[in-house]
């Protein structure tokens, strides 16, 4: 299968399995010859930002006395940026996470952080494959 076909199949699969929603299509629509790398740039920023936030969440929840407002603020950031890139599954996990922050449940928050982490890294892996395939489609050899 050509890189272009693989790319189309991957993206279709991400929509079908609920990883992405139509906001991602909005991003694709904004890419054009004047901004040919827009999607990969936003996706990359999202992945970097997401990793940073997850690190902060782990730090906050590791404290003997958890500041749930701070935790909630970080979750809110990740919820916002996932919504902006169309990362549906991650966004929904963040919504659950917010509720647990309201309940001030440290256990609940730790469990949900794990789920966020799993979902985020699943998405990130597929985004990385997507960007690789896009590079190939544009005539660049695959690189890490």
């Amino acid at each position: 299968m050509s890189a272009a076909n693989q790319l189309a199949a991957l993206i279709a699969n991400m929509f079908a399995t609920g990883l992405l929603d139509d906001q991602f299509q909005q991003l694709q629509m904004l890419q054009d010859p004047s901004a040919p790398n827009f999607v990969s740039e936003v996706v990359t920023l999202f992945c970097q930002d997401g990793e940073r936030i997850i690190g902060e969440l782990a730090k906050q929840l590791d404290k003997p006395s958890v500041d749930f407002d701070r935790v909630d603020a970080f979750v809110h950031q990740l919820k916002g940026s996932s919504a902006s890139v169309g990362a549906l599954k991650v966004k929904n996990t963040c919504i659950q996470f917010c509720e647990l922050c309201q309940q001030k449940s440290k256990d609940g928050c730790l469990k949900t952080l794990e789920t966020v982490r799993i979902n985020f890294y699943e998405l990130r892996g597929k985004f990385q494959t997507m960007l690789q395939l896009e590079r190939q489609v544009n005539g660049f050899p695959p690189n890490n």
Binding site: Q23, Q26, L27, M29, L30, D32, A35, F38, E41, V42, L45, F46, Q48, D49, A73, H76, Q77, K79, G80, S81, A83, S84, V85, G86
Partner: protein, 201 residues
């Protein structure tokens, strides 16, 4: 509505603490032919606009002294430190900035929040994620505020000067450089012809 002949795109200042969101709003605005400046906080926005946090209500830098005029400010609501609402208030308290239309963005659909912002003078409230279709709502606010501004200037000139050499003429057009936006009060390049009274919808 009368058309202001201008070759310079409108300039939007976008404020958002989230990097992916800043990237998105920048692209949305550029796709819609706006010139864009993005900053990551309310205080940086105020710095860019030329006013200091603590003395916004007293002597503030006159908009004409800005290096680049800003035609609209779009800001996220939830930001650490100064929220979008706080920023909105500072802008409305500033005599030089209060006429710049302000749009608030938020991922939360909270009616009391929306109303609070609109009551404080926000021109529009966008639910995030912002879409391309939202961009078409921006220009009307810019044009409305410019019509208002020109109308007010026209009134001032009529009152202060009976000499009609600075009255508008249909052949006026603005220059293509930013200097058209740095006009002093006496410079009337962009005044609308008298017969075209702005219609406010």
């Amino acid at each position: 509505m009368a058309v202001v002949a201008s070759e310079t795109p409108f300039h939007v200042l976008a404020v958002d603490d989230s990097l992916p969101d800043r990237k998105l709003i920048e692209r949305l605005l550029k796709t819609s032919s706006f010139q864009v400046t993005t900053v990551d906080s309310g205080s940086k926005a105020l710095q860019f606009l030329g006013i200091h946090d603590d003395d916004a209500s007293t002597v503030s830098v006159h908009a004409h002294q800005l290096d680049v005029a800003v035609n609209l400010i779009i800001t996220d609501y939830c930001m650490p430190g100064m929220t979008g609402y706080d920023l909105l208030k500072k802008i409305k308290e500033s005599s030089s900035l209060r006429d710049i239309p302000v749009v608030i963005m938020s991922s939360e659909n909270i009616p009391s929040r929306i109303n609070r912002c609109l009551e404080e003078g926000a021109d529009e409230f966008f639910l995030k994620p912002v879409r391309l279709s939202d961009m078409s709502k921006l220009k009307p606010h810019i044009l409305k505020s410019r019509c208002r501004e020109h109308y007010q200037q026209e009134q001032q000139h009529q009152q202060s000067d009976s000499n009609s050499n600075d009255c508008s003429s249909p052949t006026n057009k603005s220059s293509s450089s930013d200097s058209s936006r740095k006009r002093k009060a006496e410079d009337n390049e962009e005044i609308l012809p008298q017969k075209n009274r702005p219609r406010h919808s």
